[in-house]
Amino acid sequence: MTLLKSKLVASLSKTLPPRPRSPVPVWLALTLALLWMIVYDLELSFETLAYGLADMGEYFSRYGKPDFTDLSRYVHLMGITLATALWGTVFALVVAFFLAPLAARNFAPNVVIYRIARELLNFMRAMPDLLLALIFVTALGLGPLPGALALGVHTAGFLGKFFAESLERVDKGVCDGVASTGANFAQMVMYAGWPSILREALGNVLYILDRNVRMASVLGLVGAGGIGLALHDTLRLFEYGQSAALILVILATILLIDYASAWLRKRLD
């Protein structure tokens, strides 16, 4: 009886058991320390920022009067940019279409091919498109083609990874079903693979197209054609009116593509 009574007394006590130590404050402190160190190392001074922000009001006002005299040329350049993005995306799609099944653990014919395909896709993703554009410009000369190729190779890596991850999530039962009929690798991929992930895959392609339009706008900076070079030039010559106009053209186009792809996505659902 005394045991029960002491247990009851203990349960009536008003104090809670000690609170488990939360790791959050430690992580927060570490992060803040890290950030402070970074600010110091980058020699960012709040002075320059403050001056910069104060100046920026005045600076941005210079963009207030967009100069659209060269509009037709800008639109033409934007057209080139869009076409570059389209070709880049199509190229990426073709490469990813063939590589992704090899990079999916459940479809790959063997582990070696799987590892190689995965590494290849990772490599394509890791190389910045700008670097690829530079390399292709050296090999092919100036113009939009190296830009399209650079976009194609880089986003093939992304698209391939997205597709491979979707393929790996395909229901094992469906794969068994097709495999049990004696299907070979290509047939497995075409019947158990792509039909199962079609919706996700199309969403991924639209996302990549969107991204490529943005990147294509800046690839012109390295001579890979398009509107980026024009912007670089006007800014260097302090032609704020024209820069403003160029930025607005780029902005308008990107927003248009955004709306179009959102609309397409809704239609596909």
Binding site: G173, G182, N184, M190, S196
Partner: protein, 259 residues
């Protein structure tokens, strides 16, 4: 050449679970065999060994004298069809296309990759569909059908392979009693009329009694009964379905093995 021969087969999964322990089975062509047993007994594993979806850790599996392995695997699978508990159809494709996947191993693959099929294949698919009485649903999307209908599509796909053997892994576990009756009758009819060897996994004892020529009872990876329905007495049933305490309960191990 459609006899199934399983000799001294053991199957151990990577997590250590031993699903089959030294199994010997020989199944004659044209027979209708039902494998009965509790969950985790190894029924599914045994069936999946027959078309190569599982490989034995030791021992051998032969179909028509050929080892189920390596280069012959595709050819053997074209003659061994499987019907699944979850139907395993390709949801967004039509019923016809699903049935046509049964023809994939029979022709060179060049056309099929583009979803092109020959007229003879279409003919075979239509024949299979009429055999399972689903001609009117031919162009519907596979996932828009009821459970019983989807299983019939699964059987049509199996028939389209013009198989020598049909394996059915718990084909009626997800179906209501009426559909279960339909499916078992269909399978029995296919065996009787076309002379196809049929092996079915079940856990419903009554269905086993009514439809089987031969019942193989399994428990904990071993065969504990092998005979005709008439020979399956209550004692025999106890042997098949006994569980000797928690130590011998395999269902958790089994679930983990497939995880």
């Amino acid at each position: 050449m459609s006899d199934i021969s399983i000799q001294a087969v053991t199957k151990r999964f990577p997590n250590g679970f031993e699903a089959l322990k030294g199994i010997h089975v020989a199944i004659k062509p044209g027979s209708f065999t039902i494998i009965l047993g509790p969950s985790g007994a190894g029924k599914s594993t045994l069936l999946r060994l027959m078309n190569g979806l599982e490989t034995p850790t030791s021992g051998s599996v032969h179909i028509g004298g050929e080892v189920v392995n390596g280069k012959q695997l595709r050819r053997i699978r074209s003659k061994v069809a499987m019907v699944f508990q979850q139907f395993n159809l390709i949801d967004r494709l039509s019923v016809v296309t699903n049935v046509l996947t049964g023809r994939l191993a029979h022709r060179s693959w060049v056309g099929s990759v583009f979803y092109l099929f020959r007229n003879e294949d279409m003919g075979i698919a239509q024949e299979a569909l009429s055999r399972v009485a689903l001609t009117d649903k031919a162009w519907n999307r596979a996932d828009k059908l009821s459970g019983g209908q989807q299983q019939r599509v699964g059987i049509a796909r199996a028939l389209a392979q013009r198989p020598k053997i049909i394996l059915a892994d718990e084909p009626v576990a997800s179906l209501d009693p009426v559909s279960s009756e339909e499916i078992m009758t269909l399978l029995r009819d296919i065996c009787d009329r076309d002379g196809i060897t049929v092996v079915v996994n079940l856990h419903q004892v009554e269905l086993a009694r009514r439809f089987a020529d031969r019942i193989i009872g399994m428990n904990s990876g071993k065969i504990v009964f092998d005979g005709s329905p008439a020979q399956m007495t209550q004692t025999a049933l106890h042997t098949i379905y006994q569980r000797e305490g928690i130590e011998n309960d395999n269902s958790l191990d089994m679930a983990l093995a497939y995880a």
